[in-house]
Symmetry: none
Subunit: 413 residues, 2 copies
C-alpha cells in the first residue's frame, strides 16, 4: 500500500515552521504497513494545492493532506477540495454543534468565522474533532482514500490516532507489520550499532532494525513483516531476548515507555514519592514527570534553585560547599538532592547542577557539564556527564541523564 | 522567481529524520526574493526521484535537490541526474584531489567508495565542497537552474552560503521579499481574523497577511513583495502602525519574540527579578524562562507545589483557603504568588493552579480551568481561563496565559 502526504502552508516553505507533522504521519503510517513514497509541501494557494492533488501517483492508495482548515482567509483547503472532488460546501449541524460547545467551554461566543468552519464538502465523511474546531474529512475517489486534517499538531494527531489509523487498519489487512520498540539509555548511536553488528547481521529476513535516537535515549525499533502474526510475534520475542542478553544494562523498557513513564510506574508500584531540585534544567525534569497524567500520586513538588542564594536558603546547600567546590560540583548536587528530599518529605529526590550554555563554561567545567544526584533512604549517588554546547539540547540531555539515574536508584532500592 | 526544493531519502518519509534542511533552504531563498512554491520529499529510488524531477512546475526557475550523494549503495542521485540531463558520469580530477586532501586530514586513506564520489555528471558545473567529500552540482536546462547538494546539513549550508546564494543573487536582482512578524496574545484566531477583516481587505497588493497560532500566541506575518526594499519597508511600517492602533492590547512584540523573551528583556531593562510558583504547569513556566540564555540575570528559582501540603508548607497558602475555596481558586493562586515572592525574594512572582486533565474536573471547575496570579510590590492580580481537555496542550496554554499576565504586570509597574 502506497501513501503520500501533502502539507499546506507557506510557513512550511519559507522555513518559519519546520514540518514535524509529516514526519509524525510518516512514522505512524509506516507502522501500519504503508510505503510513504512522497511528501509534498505547497503554498496555501488554490493552484498549488490543486496541482499537488493532481500530481498524486497513479498507484498511490492513500493521501493525507494537512493544513489550511482554520477560520481565516488564508485557509483555503476546503474550496479547493470541493473543486477537486466536484462537490460543494454544506453546513454540517453536528460539526457546528461541536464548535459551539468548544467555544462555550472557552467562554467565547460563536462568531461568523467559527460558523464557516462547519461548512464542509458535501461528499466527505466527517472525522469528529474533539480537541479543536476544524473537523477531519475523509474522501474516496477512483480507488484512493484522501484525508484532509487540520495542521495544528495536536488536532492532527488526535484525528489520526482516534479515527484515521483504526479505520485504515480495518481496511488494509493483507500484510502484517508488527513493531517492537526497545528503549535504551547509556550509550551513543554509533557505539550501540558497533555492539549490535553481529546481532544485526544475524537478523532473519522478516525483521528490520532501526535506531531512533533522541537526547540520549535510543529507541531500537524491530519491525517484523509477513503474513502470520503469531509467527512474527515469536520471532520478535526471540530477537528481543537476544538483545536482553547483549545489552542488559542499556534497556529500560520493552514497551516504548519514556523514562518518566517508567519512573511513574515504578514509584506507583512501590507507593513511593519523588521531588526534584533543579538548577540547570530549570524545571524540565518536573515538567517531564508532571506531563504524565496521574503524576500527583507520586510527585509532590520541586524547588528550582537557579541562584546560589536559593540553593543555600531553601535547599540547605552549605556556603562553604559553593565557595570551595562551586555550584557545579558533586558536593553541591548531593546537598541539593538531600535538602530537597528533606524539605519536600519524599522517598526519592533528584537534583541537577550544570552549565547549559552557550556561555559560562571554563577549562575545568566546560559548557555541557552536569552533575546529577539522587537521594533516598539508602543514601545519595551522583554522576557527572559532559554533553555539547547547545543550550536547549543540553537541558534535554541533562534531564534524561537525571531521570535515568533516578530510575536505577528506584530499581536498586 | 519561483523555486522548488526536492529532498531525497526514505528517513525523511518514515519520520526518522525531520527535514530541517528544506526549512533552512526555504528561508534563505525566500530572503533573496524567491517564492518557494513546492517542497517534495521522495524515497531514494530512481523512479521516485525522476518522477519528482519531471513534476517540476513549468514556470519554476530554480530547483534545489538535496541528498543521495553519499558514498554508500543507497546514494543514487547522480545516475538519476545523468538520465534526466542526458549526460554521463566522468571522473573529475579536481574533485578527486579535494577528496584526497579531506581524507588525509582525517587520517584516512582514499578508498574505492571515496573515489566514486569524484565521478560527476559531465554537463554540470562543480560547486567545490570544502567541508565534505560530495561536491555540489549546478545544471541548467530549458531556462531552469537545478542544483544538487549533499544532504548533510553542514555541507549543504556551506555550499548554499558560499556558492549558490551569491551566484543566485548575481543572476536575479529583480524581486525583494520582506517579512514582518507581529506577535499577539489575548484572543483566538477566528476572533482576531474578524477584528482584522477591514484591515486585511485594505492591504495593498504587495502585502500578504498570515495567521500562525501556537498555544494561544498568534503570530501575524506580513509579507511584502516587490522591487524596492525601502518602499516595502515603509509600507510594512505603515501597516504595522495600523495594526498597533486596531489591536494595541494584543501585540506583545513586533520582532518575533516569544513571551518569555519579552519578559526577559523587560526584567533586564528594569533590573527586576522573577520567580514562579507552579502547580498544574509543573515547572513548564520556569522551563520556558530558563530556556533563554542569560536568564539567571533575572530568574532566581521556583517552587513547584503539586501537592497541597507543599502549597501550605513552603508557600504559606492557608489551610482554610484550600478547605474553603479549593486548591484551584483565585484565593489559592494569589497566596501562592505572594508566598513564592516572599520566599524567593523577587520583585515579581507568577503562580498557576488548575486542572490539566484528562480527569479531575467537576461541573464548577471543568478540566482545562486555570487560575493564574502575579504578585509584585504594587499588589497581586489574578485571572481565570478555561481551555480544553488535552493535558499537554493545557499545560502549554496555562503557561502562556501566566506569562502574558506577568508581562502585563511588569509593563504596568
Amino acid at each position: 500500500m502506497k501513501a503520500e502526504i501533502i502539507t499546506i502552508g507557506d510557513e512550511l516553505l519559507i522555513g518559519q515552521t519546520i514540518d514535524t507533522n509529516s514526519a509524525w504521519i510518516g512514522s505512524e503510517l509506516s507502522n501500519i504497513g504503508f510505503d510513504i513514497c512522497r511528501k509534498t509541501s505547497v503554498h496555501d494557494r488554490s493552484e498549488d494545492i490543486l496541482s499537488a492533488l493532481k500530481g498524486i501517483g497513479r498507484d498511490t492508495d492513500l493521501v493525507i493532506i494537512t493544513g489550511g482548515l482554520g477560520p481565516t482567509s488564508d485557509d483555503i483547503t476546503k474550496p479547493v477540495l470541493c473543486e477537486f472532488f466536484n462537490t460543494r460546501l454544506k453546513m454540517n449541524e453536528t460539526v457546528l454543534e461541536n464548535i459551539r460547545i468548544l467555544m462555550q467551554r472557552r467562554g467565547f461566543d460563536l462568531n461568523e468565522n467559527n460558523r464557516l468552519q462547519a461548512l464542509v464538502p458535501e461528499s466527505c465523511t466527517i472525522l469528529p474533532n474533539a480537541v479543536g474546531t476544524a473537523p477531519g474529512m475523509w474522501f474516496e475517489k477512483d480507488g484512493k482514500i484522501y484525508m484532509s486534517l487540520p495542521g495544528v499538531p495536536a488536532e492532527m494527531k488526535y484525528l489520526m490516532t482516534e479515527h484515521a489509523i483504526p479505520e485504515l487498519k480495518r481496511r488494509y489487512k493483507s500484510q502484517v507489520i508488527i513493531h517492537k520498540n526497545i528503549m535504551t539509555y547509556g550509550t551513543y548511536e554509533a557505539k550501540l550499532a558497533e555492539i549490535l553488528t553481529g546481532f544485526e547481521s544475524a537478523l532473519p529476513d522478516c525483521i528490520k532494525l532501526a535506531y531512533l535516537p533522541s537526547f540520549g535515549v535510543i529507541k531500537l525499533r524491530l519491525t517484523a513483516t509477513g503474513k502470520d502474526p503469531s509467527f512474527l510475534h515469536a520471532v520478535l520475542e526471540e530477537q528481543t531476548s537476544k538483545l536482553r542478553s547483549i545489552i542488559p544494562g542499556f534497556i529500560f523498557s520493552e514497551d516504548e515507555e519514556s523514562l518518566e513513564m517508567v519512573i511513574g510506574r515504578l514509584l506507583r508500584e512501590r507507593k513511593s514519592t519523588v521531588c526534584t531540585a533543579e538548577s540547570c534544567t530549570g524545571g524540565r525534569i518536573a515538567g517531564m514527570i508532571t506531563g504524565i497524567a496521574g503524576s500527583s500520586d507520586y510527585f509532590t513538588g520541586s524547588v528550582i534553585a537557579y541562584s546560589n542564594e536559593v540553593k543555600k536558603r531553601l535547599l540547605g546547600v552549605k556556603a562553604s560547599t559553593i565557595s570551595e567546590y562551586g555550584a557545579v560540583s558533586e558536593q553541591c548536587a548531593r546537598e541539593m538532592a538531600e535538602g530537597a528530599r528533606k524539605l519536600l518529605s519524599t522517598d526519592f529526590s533528584v537534583a541537577t547542577t550544570g552549565i547549559a550554555g552557550p556561555s559560562g563554561g571554563s577549562h575545568e567545567k566546560p559548557v555541557g557539564t552536569v552533575w546529577v544526584a539522587v537521594a533516598s533512604d539508602s543514601g545519595t549517588s551522583a554522576e557527572k556527564y559532559i554533553f555539547g554546547t547547545d543550550r536547549l539540547i543540553n537541558i534535554e540531555r541533562f534531564a534524561r541523564a537525571a531521570l535515568n539515574l533516578l530510575r536505577k536508584q528506584i530499581l536498586s532500592y
